[in-house]
Symmetry: C2
Subunit: 281 residues, 2 copies
């Protein structure tokens, strides 16, 4: 393609958008919306619309023309304007916005998240408030209360500070704190898997491996640590066998039980984005 | 949404992109790639990549910063750069580019196609040459030969002139010549159907109705008029019954026989775009 892909804002935004589309399309993706099934309140088409909605925000992010927190807010706002299916990509935006700003360069992404300020934290809380995420609160800075916003301002608590707290129980926050290590690791893995199994099955395989290696923190928050560990144990077995029919049954079981490995899906999107930018897909 | 949606280049480009994604995702879409099956050489993911690839060209088209023929060429070129699945959206681009330039306003779109010049014709032939369309030639101006290009220049044959010739056997060209009548008619129909049946099934229903009403010219070119008429007769019956299982069997039959109602799919994309811009979806 081009010599310096990371300097073309359209190319970066397109890679981020395609990552979102490839992730939601990959099927069977255990416990998540995919091209073959919806949730009761969130359809596959809501994810398509969200991916379309956010493009101008990604382009802005690639041009680095405003702060991380504000861009996350704008991404969520755009997504919500284009569909009525509730939260589709909040966690994905938290990962993608700094990665897009950094053009997929890991050191730059680290610098960007470490350089966030208290205004980013305020904007992030505004984003969280409208995102429709189905967990109660983000850490002890109780969500969106005037009190917590005042405290952020007074103590100049940055968004990175906040994610340091939540990194212990949320793998998306942990990616910020630990320099996107897992996202970059799985970017290589998804590249290898796609070459071996093709686009759809390669992404499915990567999803199962990531879920096997790191218990999903979104499951842990909603259904407890025990459940998250159980799911990962099963995922580990299924990733080794890699029998799509068995993965399909596992998918059905998770949906029936209302168990959603949402954090794993968010991280797969980040990994696909990196793999696309690096030319590994 | 906004007061003058047709004046925001991003919003127009997004509507065109979402139209492409919703069309290819709608399933079962008889004889075409959809979210549930690929062709041997063209995958669902190639259509996703093509939809992502073309965004910057749509944005340029919405800003009207170059000619129709050149934009069609750039759209095809961008699409080909992002996947290796052969032709995905050539017919769709022929319809979408002038509609996007016109912001979805029918009279403007008519003016734009009637205002094309011989340079647009040259650019269109360049686009056709790289598009990988599986029909032999476009009318008697034998495709891409130096002779035909010289004749276009000398006789100042416009792209609209060329489409006047091909309109007799190609419904996409006919849309240009007859002022996008069917696209706008089916934009209303898809709006009504989506309200009644939901997004996926509403688009499937509209596809069957369009195929029933107008025999697909891409089928006619490849498999003859008789076949095209037969397919429309069956589509008519299936659209009345609207039994998704029967449509699924019809889909399988068409794929097995290598019959592809590609022109119908292109026109559905144009109709979805118009419906999105008008706020009917």
């Amino acid at each position: 393609m081009r010599k310096k892909p990371e300097s073309d804002p359209d190319l970066i935004a397109q890679a981020a958008q395609l990552a979102m589309l490839l992730e939601v399309s990959a099927s069977p993706k255990a416990g998540n919306v995919d091209r073959c099934h919806d949730y009761p309140d969130t359809r596959y088409e809501d994810f398509l619309a969200s991916s379309v909605a956010v493009y101008p925000v990604f382009r802005k992010a690639a041009l680095k023309d405003t702060g991380v927190g504000k861009l996350i807010f704008e991404a969520v706002e755009a997504s919500k304007r284009w569909h009525t299916g509730g939260n589709t990509h909040f966690g994905a935006f938290i990962l993608l916005i700094p990665l897009v700003m950094a053009g997929g360069v890991q050191d730059l992404a680290k610098e960007i998240v470490r350089g966030t300020g208290w205004q980013d934290a305020i904007d992030f809380y505004r984003a969280f408030a409208i995102a429709g995420v189905r967990v109660g609160k983000v850490n002890d800075l109780n969500l969106g209360s005037q009190e917590s916003l005042d405290r952020i301002r007074e103590e100049k608590i940055t968004l990175f500070d906040i994610f340091k707290i939540s990194s212990s129980y949320d793998s998306v926050s942990a990616e910020w704190v630990y320099g996107f290590e897992r996202s970059f690791k799985y970017a290589r893995i998804v590249g290898t898997n796609v070459r071996e199994y093709g686009m759809n099955d390669g992404i499915v395989m990567t999803f199962m491996q990531l879920l096997a290696e790191y218990p999903d923190t979104f499951i842990a928050m909603k259904s407890g640590n025990e459940t998250a560990l159980d799911i990962s144990a099963t995922a580990s077995k299924l990733a080794c066998e890699f029998d799509l029919d068995k993965i399909r049954s596992f998918d059905e079981e998770l949906i029936e039980r209302g168990i959603n490995p949402g954090a794993t899906a968010d991280m797969i999107i980040a990994s696909i984005f990196i793999a696309l930018i690096k030319g590994w897909l």
